[in-house]
């Protein structure tokens, strides 16, 4: 079943085109990774899906409904977004931070249900004890988990993650990927993740979209996308792809070109 349908999506700023005619169907409860060099348009695509940015042309349908006709609050009830990091001006506690994720479901009053939801998610992620700590004083890995918790209490069918692992050590990288994988498997959530680490993408995703210069170059199962040819074309890097325990691993060997910036 198609959960997200993107058709001829274009987005650009005054001087540069970021996304050019991106079209893709994403199926329900699949784990999709978006890979590609810096500036390929991965984050921009996520932000278009989330209505943080408004596309210049093209259509996005969520569950068959056109995104253009959905109110922002309605979008927030269907798609949750986990930013790469969140720097804030004023200190908030972890509990307050996660509770913000309930905003699309409530008015002024926060009732016990909403609080219970927050406790439940904090408990599931094993971070209940952090509830009263200040968000800024936590480690990068803990902060990332709390941002994921905020997205989880949003109770959405789709979760978008913008490079959630890029500032984390390998333990926390696996931790975050496991959490998302479980969401997809156990709660039928559809996850769309921009990620730089090809090995993480290969290990966890059902589908990989490889992007370059605002276009999807290759899409499909990890084995069909992560080939030496594709990596050489998209990244300008010679890489060795090998299989270990039924998972593909990419080992970059050397740069093939002087520059890959468009």
């Amino acid at each position: 079943m198609v959960k997200i349908k993107i058709k001829d999506l274009c987005f650009g700023y005054a001087s540069t085109q970021i996304l050019e005619n991106v079209s893709i169907d994403i199926h329900k409860s699949s784990f999709v990774s978006i890979v590609g060099p810096n500036g390929a348009g991965k984050s921009t695509m996520l932000k278009c899906l989330n209505k943080i940015l408004t596309p210049d042309s093209g259509e996005i349908h969520i569950d068959g409904r056109n995104l253009r006709h959905l109110k922002r609050m309605e979008v927030a009830r269907n798609l949750a977004y986990v930013p790469q990091s969140s720097n804030r001006i004023f200190p908030t506690t972890v509990f307050e931070t996660v509770l913000m994720g309930r905003r699309p479901h409530l008015g002024w009053f926060i009732n016990e249900n909403d609080k219970e939801k927050v406790w439940q998610v904090l408990d599931e992620l094993g971070i209940e004890d952090l509830a009263l700590s200040s968000f800024d004083e936590l480690s990068g890995g803990q902060q990332q988990k709390i941002l994921i918790a905020r997205a989880l209490v949003q109770d959405t069918g789709i979760i978008l993650l913008d490079e959630p692992t890029s500032n984390l050590d390998i333990w926390h990288q696996l931790d975050v990927m496991e959490i998302v994988k479980k969401l997809v498997n156990n709660r039928n959530v559809t996850a769309l993740m921009a990620v730089h680490d090809l090995n993480l993408a290969s290990k966890y995703s059902d589908q990989i979209l490889m992007m370059k210069d605002g276009q999807i170059v290759s899409a499909g199962k990890p084995a069909s996308v992560l080939t030496s040819e594709n990596i050489a074309n998209v990244y300008g890097v010679e890489a060795h792809v090998h299989t270990h325990a039924e998972t593909l691993y990419v080992m970059p060997l050397k740069q093939l070109v002087m520059s890959i910036d468009a």
């Binding site: 200190p91 506690t93 931070t97 408990d123 094993g126 209940e128 004890d129 509830a131 009263l132």
Partner: protein, 394 residues
Amino acid sequence: MLYWFSGFLPPYPLLSRTAVKIMQNPFKKQSDSHKPDDTGGSGGTDNSQVREDYQRHVGRKLLFLSYMLLLVTLFAAFIVTIGPLDISVPDVYKILLAKILPISVEGLPTQIVWNIRMPRIVAGIMAGFGLGICGCVMQAVLKNPLASPFTLGISSGANFGVAIAAVLGLGVIGGPYMVIGNAFLFAMLCALFIIALANFKGATSETLILAGIAMNYLFGSLSDLFRYFATDEQLRVMISWGMGDLSAFTWNNFLLLLVIFVFCTPLLYLKANDLNIMTIGDENAKSLGIDTNRVRMSSMLLASLLVATIVCFTGTIAFIGLVAPHMARMMVGSDHKYLFPAAGILGALLLISADATGLYILGSTIIPTGIMTSLIGVPFFMYLILKRKRKEFW
């Protein structure tokens, strides 16, 4: 009193316990997560402990708010009994009670208590509360700890309006309200300029503060220019207004201030959840369903309306709008459900106590409110900064 405040600082003591827990069994924890029946069983003593802590945390904030409210009432009740003219404490309360009970009182003391002291206290509470919450709202929607009616140039705009009225005798409305009318108009013009800059040019909050400070200089220089050519009488109007003075407030102005106050305050407080979310940045806020531009525009408009109304009656009281929200944040944390009323109540408390000190300290000479607010407020604020363990105090 200072020692007593520190008991209400939000606690951050839970880090070490968690670190241990995460190291112990991350995989076990995750393997049984996401089951619907997960919460009840795995609860244990540890989890209920943190929930209890949270309840206490919330209870402490509510307690703090009610203490502060009580303190404002007590201060007001005390301040009404002091002043240059000696009126005994029972007499003062008899005069006040006469307003609701059928007791007959008359003469000069009645005039002084009811028409001079009471308006001053009422103005102090409303202005302090209003400046506190407006500072709080502006800091949230502009995501900047430096935002305040003063730093955004709103007060200095009003100041310039007063200069025009005093020196040129020009005003939007004539008669006794010319000074007030001009102050309001120029304060609103300044505010609208800042709001327009934020919404239509998409200026960052740093740019807005810079623009506000630039406006401060511009209007400051223009006011100085007028001051340079002013006669002694004109100068007196400008100076007393510029230093902030609650004595100009009378019962005649009360109704107008009350109407604006009752209109703006609930509307702003209703945005408490959105204000929380605005502080985490526009992209994050949008992803949580907040129409950031609309929230920013409407909050700034309401706050500016309230500030302009207050400032045109009381003159420039710079310190409260900037610092009351920070003090409140140190005491109740960043959740605007509590921060908003706390900033207001603290603002009111600061303003009336400073004003009362100014009334009393030099005997028959009354020190203007604006001067006393800074003289009392700054040392208190510095104390809070130094006492705080965190490096950043907001």
